[in-house]
Amino acid sequence: MKIIFKLILCFALVSSYTSISLADIVVVVHPGNPLTSLELSNIKRLFLGKTTKFSNGDAAVPFENSSQKTIFHHQITGKEVAQLKAYWARRVFSGKGFPPKEIKDSGRVKTLIANDPTSIGYIDSAAVDPTVKVIMILP
């Protein structure tokens, strides 16, 4: 019983520690984008290729961020990386479309988004600056 209690305590400590130490991920768009917020379902649909538009009807081009991809999809689409790969395999090999272009890290995603009014991506909150606009902080 004591061991179990200790284990639970250990686990609680570790999990609280990781939640503090992990930097937040934010969803960002071009500063000229008129949207100020976006529904989670719209972001999910954009990153799964089910829509190509923002909720206001404007064209949207999503970009994946390799360095944050696992956590982002875990939170937003509810899919693990392998499951996501299988999902896209079904779409690619049936001609329904290709996954969003994958960019190496937050810095590069930010540069891309700062230069493309239709783009949407997600970056490490530490990388945020006025060249991009935050429209969602990941829960």
Partner: protein, 358 residues
């Protein structure tokens, strides 16, 4: 002293000159490299190459051969296959797609499964023409991409019933978004000639309609298809009018996975049949254990039911290792089911495979 100065200054000038020419060459080179990279990038963005492969081995505990081609002999060619797909953008609205697939069971002779022109007519309408894959089932178009499926192979009681898979023709796809629902219509028309299990098919007047409803992780698909089937050399099997109805459901949640498809095949001379399966899986980390119940029931009395237990392990984001046991209970077999001869006992088929996509 003065002489020394002249020497140093001229040396300095020469070095500066050399350095400058050097840097100007370097910047020219860089520009050139940049231009070339840009050209390569533009070209690369016009082409997509995607591939998939499976290697597997399988055997059962009986001498009778199942319809999947499995018996007590260890076989490596049943599930092994590899495919490559090329998508070339012609312009903003049209592209050409080709897909080559080589299968172990066909001695790895590469077949052109897809070769079609895809034209985006408007925001909602796409037209395709050429060599296409018959859209009979929910997974028809990706039936060889085993990585995209939970099982080692598509459930034979349902997916093994149609021996022809491709057609020459056209289809139109209409898709729309109703809030968070994606609604899709696919109408197709064509003919299908091909060889399967040593039989030559020449099918005509083939057409059908598929309606797909997709909301979040749930997708429902209904299809109805017509065709006149001809098996060359069999006068009884010439222009056999047939209808095929299919209902498919898929739920691909973060934890639970539910897949199912039910089919009914009606024809005016051969035997009718109904078939269905349901798969339930649960993802936990890299592991996905799953269970499937499948049923095949033909008018002439042939019945086969199977229970499949499987485990998928995602080694990485591109590789899956799978193992599966399919059990066909002797008591649920009527006539010989889908075996070439009636098995002498209950059948267990073991398969281990590795799938990849790239």
């Amino acid at each position: 002293m003065a002489r020394y100065k002249v020497v140093t200054s001229s040396l300095f000038m020469i070095l500066t000159f050399l350095f400058m020419t050097k840097t100007s060459i370097a910047s020219n080179d860089l520009e050139d490299i940049n231009n070339r990279l840009e050209t390569i990038e533009t070209l690369a963005s016009k082409f997509h190459i995607n591939g998939f492969a499976t290697v597997g081995f399988t055997r059962s505990n009986v001498a009778s051969t199942s319809r999947e081609g499995i018996n007590e002999d260890v076989k490596f060619d049943r599930d092994s296959r590899a495919g490559i797909r090329f998508t070339a953008d012609i312009d903003d609205n049209s592209k050409f797609v080709t897909q080559l697939v080589g299968r172990g069971v066909d001695h790895w002779d590469a077949e052109l499964d897809w070769a079609y022109l895809d034209y985006q007519l408007s925001e909602n309408v796409r037209l395709r023409g050429g060599r296409l894959v018959l859209p009979f089932f929910m997974i028809s178009e990706t039936i060889d991409v085993r990585y995209s499926q939970p099982w080692v192979r598509p459930i034979d009681e349902v997916y093994g019933n149609v021996p022809f898979t491709g057609y020459e023709g056209v289809d139109g796809l209409y898709s729309m978004e109703l809030g968070e629902i994606n609604l899709g219509f696919q109408a197709w028309l064509g003919t299908s000639n091909g060889e399967s299990s040593g039989l030559q098919f020449e099918n005509e007047n083939m057409y059908g309609l598929v309606v797909t409803l997709d909301h979040d992780d749930l997708s429902v698909r209904i299809g109805h298809h017509f065709q006149d089937i001809t098996i060359v050399g069999f006068s009884d099997f010439t222009d056999v009018k047939s209808e095929f109805s299919v209902l498919g459901v898929q739920y691909d949640g973060s934890r639970w996975l539910l897949l199912g498809e039910a089919t009914r095949f009606k024809q005016d001379r051969m035997f009718d049949y109904v078939s269905y399966y349901t798969t339930l899986g649960y993802r936990t980390g890299r592991w996905t254990p799953h269970v499937t119940f499948a049923d095949f029931d033909r008018d002439d009395g042939a019945v086969q039911q199977a229970v499949t237990l499987g485990l998928r392990y995602d080694v990485s984001a591109n590789i899956a290792l799978k193992t599966e046991v399919k059990h066909v209970n002797e008591d649920t077999l009527e006539q010989q089911g889908l075996f070439d001869t009636a098995p002498e006992k209950s059948v267990n088929i073991l398969t281990i495979s590795i799938d990849t996509v790239f």
